[in-house]
Each structure stands twice: as C-alpha cells, then as structure tokens.
C-alpha cells in the first residue's frame, strides 16, 4: 500500500552560482522516518531549507496532502535565546500555543510542569532539546523537519530524543524528515534514508538495503580519501 506524501522530481538548488544539489528524485510516504545523511557541506541543510521554501530551487515539489510543517532548524540552541528574558511558558506564547496544549506536550516529552516558569536559556541541554520537541509538536504538525536535533547534547540524551520522536511519530502518524551525520541513528530509527555527498554521490531507500559498504565509502570516504591523499603528498 503506498500513500505518497511528497514527490520530488528533478530537484536542483544553486546558491550564488554554485550548484549545491542537482537532479534529486524521490518520493516520501506518509509516516516515514526519513533521515537525510551525509558529511558536512553535502547540502543537507540546504535541502531541508529549499523544501521548506526558505531557499530558491528549480524542479518539481509536489505535496499530495496539505502539509502542516513543524520545523526545528540547526543552531536553535540555548545561547540564541539567552538575550531575552524568556521562560518556557513565553516560548510557547511566541507561537500562540495555549497553556494546556503546551503542558500536555511537555509531559509527552517527559518534562514536568515545574519547568514551565523557568528561563528557557538556562534549562539543562537535554531539557531544552526536549522542550523544543514539545514546542514543535504543540502546533500539531503532520510533518516534522528536524535539522541535527541532538547535535548539542550527549549520546545518551540524543538516543532518548530519537526514541521519543519515533514513538510520537508512530502514534500520531507523523512524517519525519531528520538531518544527521550520525550513522547509528540512521540504523536505529529511520525507515528510509537519503544520503548526499559533496561529490554528487547519493542514495535513497531503506537503510539496511542501500547502505552497503560501497555506498558508505562513496558518501563519506571519497571525501576523506581526497584529503588524506593531499596530506600524504
């Protein structure tokens, strides 16, 4: 049974005259946990931003269902909110989310009510990240875009966040687009993977089927080898 949510055809992104992504073609089914992986500079963030309409692209992008998107960008860290007196409650106010809705989602991600009146910039890293997940979910999206949601927290914290996301995703039939360069997460949580590389290699499919050593070599090692080669000379 296929329930195609998004069709991407001949998708190209060029920024300041430099081609970042070229000729991407794939389909995303409803309820997929799609991880976009690849080394630094391979265009993961650009890909997400252009799908969200934040960057210009050429090609076809077809949503078969009206997307209601929740977006957690890269670099949404605590430092960026310390300049303003913002409690967790205020954070939800910025999106005009009602208090009971906010509290419901905070408990969904395992946070207790008493952080509601604490300053968001001074929560622990893990708490802050969970709060952001609750913040994204509280607007009731049917599609999530997460750009390195665990890059600022340790591995254990990161794993818990992903288990949480997968559970919530399954129970609410969310389609999740997740950016990471962490291979463990791809295997543990993704239903599908889209890999990008600086040299134009790419793959799309079910992780266990397509992430062969050769493919991984193409995606990651080709870049690394290139540098090693230069150093050895």
């Amino acid at each position: 049974m296929s329930n195609i949510l998004l069709e991407v055809k001949n998708f190209n992104v060029t920024l300041d005259g430099i081609p970042i992504l070229s000729d991407l073609n794939f389909k995303v089914e409803e309820g997929e946990f799609l991880t976009i992986m690849g080394p630094n500079g391979s265009g993961k963030t650009v890909f997400v931003k252009s799908i969200l309409g934040l960057l210009p692209y050429h090609g076809e992008l077809k949503w078969n269902k009206k997307p209601k998107i929740g977006y957690l960008p890269q670099g949404m860290n605590q430092l960026s909110v310390r300049d303003t007196p913002l409690t967790v409650k205020d954070f939800f106010y910025l999106k005009k989310i009602k208090q009971e809705e906010a509290l419901k989602h905070l408990s969904l991600v395992g946070l207790s009510n008493d952080i509601f009146n604490k300053k968001a910039g001074y929560l622990s890293g893990g708490e802050f990240q969970r709060m952001l997940i609750a913040w994204v979910l509280a607007s009731h999206p049917n599609i999530l875009f997460l750009d390195e949601p665990t890059s600022t927290i340790d591995i254990v914290g990161g794993k818990t966040i992903y288990s949480l996301l997968r559970d919530i995703g399954q129970s609410q039939n969310l389609t999740i687009f997740n950016v990471t360069h962490d291979l463990n997460i791809v295997y543990a949580h993704s239903t599908h993977v889209l890999c990008l590389s600086r040299l134009g290699h790419r793959c799309y499919g079910v992780p266990e089927e397509i992430l062969t050593p050769e493919v991984l070599h193409d995606i990651y090692k080709s870049d690394i080898k290139f540098y090693k080669h230069e150093k050895e000379n």
Partner: protein, 255 residues
C-alpha cells in the same frame, strides 16, 4: 507655567514609554545602537526645522525614514553587518548635520527641547506614542519569534518582511519623537537603557515588557520635573535618570 509643564510631562511620558517598549524588541535584536545613527541622521532634519521654525520631529521624520531605507538597502546589497553600516550612516549623518546646523543654535537639535512643546504637538505625540505601542504590542510575538529564529517564523507562516517593515517604521516614529525629548545625540539611550534595566530584573517576558515601560515613564517624569526646578535641559536629565535606574538594577541582574 504649570500648563507647559503638564504638556511637557505628558509628551515625555508617551515618547519615553513607547520608546522603552520598542526597546525591549530592539535589545533582543541587538539593534538598540542603530537608533543612534538614526538620531544623528535626524539632525539635518532637525536643523532645517530650526532654521524654518517648525517642529523638530516633523523635520527629523523624513531624514530618519531615509536613514532606515539606506541601512535596509545597504544590508540587502552589501551583506555587511548592521553595526558596520551603522557606523557609516552615523558619520554621514553627523557630517551633513553640521553643514546645515548653525552650531551656536544647535542645542535643541542636539539635546532636545521638550520644555517648549505646544498643545497640538502634544496631541500628535500622544497619538503617535499610542500608535507605536499598539503596533508593537500586536506584533510582539511574531517579531520576537523572528528574532529568535527567522526560518521558524517563516515556516509558521509569519510574513517576516512585513513585520520588519512595521518594526522599522515604529523605530522611525520613535526616533523622530525622541529628537524632541532628548535630541539627536541620545536617542539610543531612550530605547536601550529602560529595556536593559528591565532585562536585569526580569525572568519572564511579561515582566520585561512592563518594567521597561515603567522605567521609561519614570525617567521622563523625573527628568522633566527636575529640569523645571534646576533650569537644566530636560533631555540629559531624562537620560541620566534612566542611567541611574540601570545602575540600581545591576546588583539584581539575572545572569
């Protein structure tokens, strides 16, 4: 002249209160310093107003709008940081101002002249002050979300360009009004200091917003009142008052 004091006080309260409220947004945008060059850009306008005998704010307004347009355009075209553009526009504003400005008579343009504000001007000030307050209040959560992360705001369906325009227009109005109260040299203080003092004491956004307004209003009342008793100009006294409030809040500063 109790009537004149009343007009000065009322105008001062509306200018300073609205400026402080806008300041809470500018502070989190790290843009309070931008008001200074805009104030300096207001100087040529204020100079013309003095030469031809009309209200300082009225003369200042078109120049501030021009300044905002220049900064906006330069940022778009050069992608230079706001602070660099600010420095460029700052120097140009001062330079042009002193071409026009008869230095001997420059005092009002430099440090403000709220003590001579007329009845009609007071009414206009009240209306504009309220307009800025309502505008900022209605768009507060949208602008603040865009401050924290512009992309998230866009994905949430917020028209960031529209809110930026609204915000910049509010800044223009406040700078033009501020020239009357504190002159063209100290306008940044009018938006920055009450917000900074409020930030020192606040944990929540609500506290931050209200404390800033209260500090702005207190500064205006104390400064203008002190001016009538001492004969010293009101503008500097307003700024000094808010400076003192800021100093008092420092020990309580929330990290």
């Amino acid at each position: 002249m109790p009537n004149q004091l009343m007009l000065s006080l009322i105008s001062g309260i509306f200018i300073s209160g609205a400026a402080a409220y806008l300041g809470t947004i500018m502070l989190s945008k790290k843009m309070t310093v931008v008001t200074d060059p805009l104030g300096h850009l207001a100087l040529p306008g204020a100079a013309l107003a003095m030469i031809y005998g009309f209200n300082l704010s009225l003369g200042a307004f078109p120049f501030v709008i021009l300044g905002i347009f220049i900064i906006w355009l330069l940022e778009l075209k050069t992608k230079l940081p706001m602070e660099t553009l600010t420095a460029i526009v700052f120097a140009a504003g001062i330079g042009i101002a002193f071409l026009f400005l008869p230095i001997d008579e420059a005092e009002a343009a430099l440090i403000g002249d709220i003590s001579k504000i007329g009845f009609i001007e007071t009414i206009v000030t009240i209306v504009l002050g309220i307009a800025v307050f309502i505008t900022v209040n209605q768009s507060y959560s949208e602008i603040m979300l865009a401050n924290i992360n512009e992309d998230v705001a866009k994905v949430e369906g917020i028209n960031v360009k529209f809110y930026n325009l609204i915000y910049l227009l509010s800044v223009a109005v406040i700078v033009a009004l501020g020239v009357n109260l504190v002159g063209g040299l100290m306008t940044a203080a009018l938006v920055a200091i009450p917000a900074a003092a409020a930030k020192n004491l606040s944990i929540t956004l609500v506290q931050y917003r209200w404390l800033a307004i209260i500090f702005g209003i207190i500064s205006a009342i104390v400064g203008i009142t002190a001016s009538t008793f001492t004969g010293l100009p009101a503008g500097p006294l307003v700024i000094i008052t808010s400076g003192i409030i800021f100093l008092i809040t420092i020990p309580a500063a929330k990290a």
